[in-house]
């Protein structure tokens, strides 16, 4: 987490476009971020803001066509994932980068046993034989907190509850001790008690395994509970980035502010009305020439219409290291 440490994952200027019949959709626009060893980076943002697409672009999981990763570098362990051959990339997936997908219900193959699915990457990447893989798979399943793990290896996904399936997904992602774990809204579909179980589990695992994690969610409560650093996305771009306490204490971007206000609190005063962000999410067709949030922004002014704001550090440290934001208003008006 220290500033000087080399990040395990460093993404620069990532651009992903979908070619569709109705024209191009610029889902990810010049997204840059990094992930330090052992760190948990929370990613929040409206639905459709490009969180999932960004992460899937990193390791080439988007189907092409229609997706096209146009530009950027993704450095992992000194190599650029985007320039790798398909075969090399396959060696990275699952081994160096683990991925937990948004929907636990459909992300497991229904016709293979859970054990089989956990063993696959073990055999592929770690060169274990079947026996060893089985033992290891049982360990992993136990690790994610499924009781009687060895016996449950023979179960099929549909025999597990949603929470258990999500834990199986996590076990698969963890199988080869990856350097980076990308978890895409792993708890959105689950109810609070199970979500709580998984959050506990992740905390535990981080302590035990020390891996770096990217955690996508739109539940700010979850972010507050587990993230070290937060990245806020809007309209295919990173609009703000800061350590977690800093972000909650001192949100800069109008979208972040609005977002934080929308959450009803469990404690404290009960508002008469919830805050909302009025207006529609932006349509991501064409390369952005203006701030994507301008139409819904209470502070928007002329410049927002003509220029897409750059990310800019506001605490003196380099962009990406401390607190930075992409907003003309914070840059010009609020700090003028």
């Amino acid at each position: 987490m220290a500033d000087g440490a080399t990040p395990v994952l460093d993404v620069r200027g990532l651009k992903t476009v979908f070619r569709t019949r109705g024209g191009e959709v610029h889902a990810v626009n010049s997204v840059s971020f990094h992930l330090n060893p052992g760190e948990l980076l929370g990613v929040v943002g409206e639905s459709g803001s490009g969180k999932s697409v960004t992460m899937m672009s990193l390791i080439g999981l988007l189907p092409s066509p229609p997706a096209d990763v146009r530009a950027g570098t993704v450095m992992l362990g000194g190599r650029d994932l985007l320039k790798m051959s398909a075969d090399d990339l396959r060696d990275v997936r699952g081994a160096k980068v683990g991925f937990v997908f948004q929907d636990p219900m459909t992300s497991l193959n229904p016709v293979f046993t859970v054990g089989n699915q956990i063993m696959e990457p073990l055999i592929r990447h770690m060169g274990l034989n079947k026996k060893q893989a089985q033992i290891r798979a049982a360990e992993l399943l136990a690790l994610v907190g499924i009781p009687d793990a060895a016996a449950r290896l023979k179960s099929y996904p549909h025999q597990f509850s949603g929470g258990m399936r999500q834990r199986v997904m996590i076990a698969i992602a963890l199988a080869c001790d990856p350097d980076v774990l990308i978890a895409d809204e792993p708890t959105t579909a689950l109810d609070v008690t199970i979500q709580a179980q998984i959050l506990e589990l992740v905390k535990d695992l981080r302590q035990k395994l020390g891996m770096a994690i990217v955690w996508i969610t739109h539940d700010l409560g979850v972010i507050a509970g587990i993230a070290d650093r937060v990245m806020v996305m809007y309209g295919g771009q990173v609009v703000e980035q800061a350590p977690v306490r800093e972000l909650f204490a001192n949100p800069q971007h109008p979208y972040t502010r609005a977002l934080l206000k929308t959450i009803p609190s469990l404690t404290g005063e009960r508002e008469a009305r919830l805050q909302v962000i009025e207006g529609q999410p932006p349509i991501l067709s064409g390369a952005p020439t203006a701030c994507p949030f301008r139409a819904r922004c209470a502070y928007a002014f002329a410049r927002c219409e003509v220029e897409n704001p750059e990310r800019r550090a506001i605490d003196g440290r380099a962009v990406g290291q401390g607190h930075d934001v992409a907003c003309h208003w914070t840059a010009e008006v609020a700090h003028a």
Partner: protein, 354 residues
């Protein structure tokens, strides 16, 4: 029920001993060998204009309660009186006639809209069913409804997939409002939406309640949202109500151990507080509703369970004014609560009048 006023207004919705079993058939002759006891004896009232929150773990029977209330399922037992008519026993045609006063907003806005119908068709469908208006008048009403839920009239020709999740949920709400219902079951209307859109939908529901005097059953597992919208909250566990309390009382001091665990599991959107929070993490999995444990449903996971819990099923009883709990921890305090008795009496009365 909340305030003991001298002349109590009758509740709009009265549910007594609602049971919904999904039968399990096995064997050579498809004999009926068991039931999924999705809802197993649930009773509550909802006052006109009130919002009752219904929370609980996934699979505990929340949706089933909601659907059984509207007779989308043929219920196994108990009765449901809405605005004076017993929904559970109506014939098909009478039921159809009764539909307009009770409507539902569904859990998954995408799934509950027919992908091949336009917005105007979807919102207009109830009108087609229950009115003989001409198309202009229907269209006018559709536009009116769209205005009411904040959908641009230009969207009338669009298909569901062309909307964002929040907008889709608005379509669902507009459809539910079309016939001026008095009572709406909102089955997790916000679960599938992101935060800012959740807020929009909740605000909309509240506005409509103010304007039209609606009564809601608000099903959710988002406890902070329930706190925001509900007047009273029922906590369900495995087909039964564990606790039914006024909102503030519940959030301030949950009585049932399950309610307590549930509340503690809600993530706190404040990093400082979040780290300091002590969560009660429940162990084990939810038992199968086909084979619920003997005694208290919650005894297998309850941190405070004792011997009695594994033997005797606790009944829902009023332990404090307006607070009902089904837990042996409180049984001595409210051995035979007055409300429990009155409930029983009411049930009898209904039995007579029917």
């Amino acid at each position: 029920m909340l305030d003991a006023s001298p002349k109590p207004i009758p509740p709009l919705v009265q549910v007594r001993g609602l049971k919904m079993y999904f039968p399990i058939y096995t064997g050579l002759l498809r004999r009926h060998t068991g039931d999924v006891k999705a809802v197993d004896g649930v009773s509550f009232d909802i006052m006109p204009g009130e919002t009752l929150g219904l929370v609980g773990e996934s699979g505990c029977g929340k949706s089933t309660v909601g659907r059984a209330l509207l007779r989308l399922y043929e219920i196994t037992g108990g009765n449901v009186v809405i605005n004076g008519t017993d929904i559970a026993t109506l014939g098909p045609e009478a039921l159809r006639k009764a539909r307009p006063q009770m409507q539902m907003v569904f859990q998954d806005p995408q799934a509950s809209l027919n992908p091949r119908m336009t917005l105007a068709d979807i919102i207009g469908e109830p009108l087609d069913e229950h009115t003989d208006w001409n198309s202009d008048r229907k269209l006018a009403r559709v536009y009116e409804l769209m205005d009411a839920v904040g959908l641009n009239r230009r969207f009338a020709n669009r298909f569901p997939h062309e909307f964002s999740g929040g907008q889709r949920q608005r379509i669902g709400i507009a459809r539910a409002l079309a016939l001026n219902p008095r009572f709406i079951v909102c089955d997790e209307p916000i679960a599938a939406l992101d935060v800012s859109i959740q807020a929009q939908v909740v605000n909309l529901l509240e506005d409509l309640q103010d304007k039209l005097g609606l009564t809601y059953l608000f099903i959710s597992h988002d406890l902070s949202m329930v706190r925001h919208i509900a007047d009273r909250v029922a906590v369900m566990y495995l087909g039964r109500i564990a606790e039914l309390s006024p909102r503030d009382a519940l959030y301030a001091r949950p009585l049932h151990p399950y309610a307590e665990a549930l509340l503690s599991a809600v993530p706190e959107p404040d990093p400082t507080l979040a780290r300091a929070r002590q969560r009660i993490i429940l162990q084990g999995d939810v038992p199968s509703p086909a084979n619920p444990p003997k005694g208290c449903n919650f005894c297998t996971r309850c941190p405070k369970a004792f011997d009695l819990c594994r033997r005797v099923k606790p009944e829902l009883a009023e332990v404090e004014p307006g607070r009902f709990v089904a837990c042996h921890l409180f049984s001595d305090t409210a051995a035979a609560g007055s409300t429990g008795a009155s409930e029983a009496k009411e049930r009898n009365q209904q039995g007579v009048t029917q």
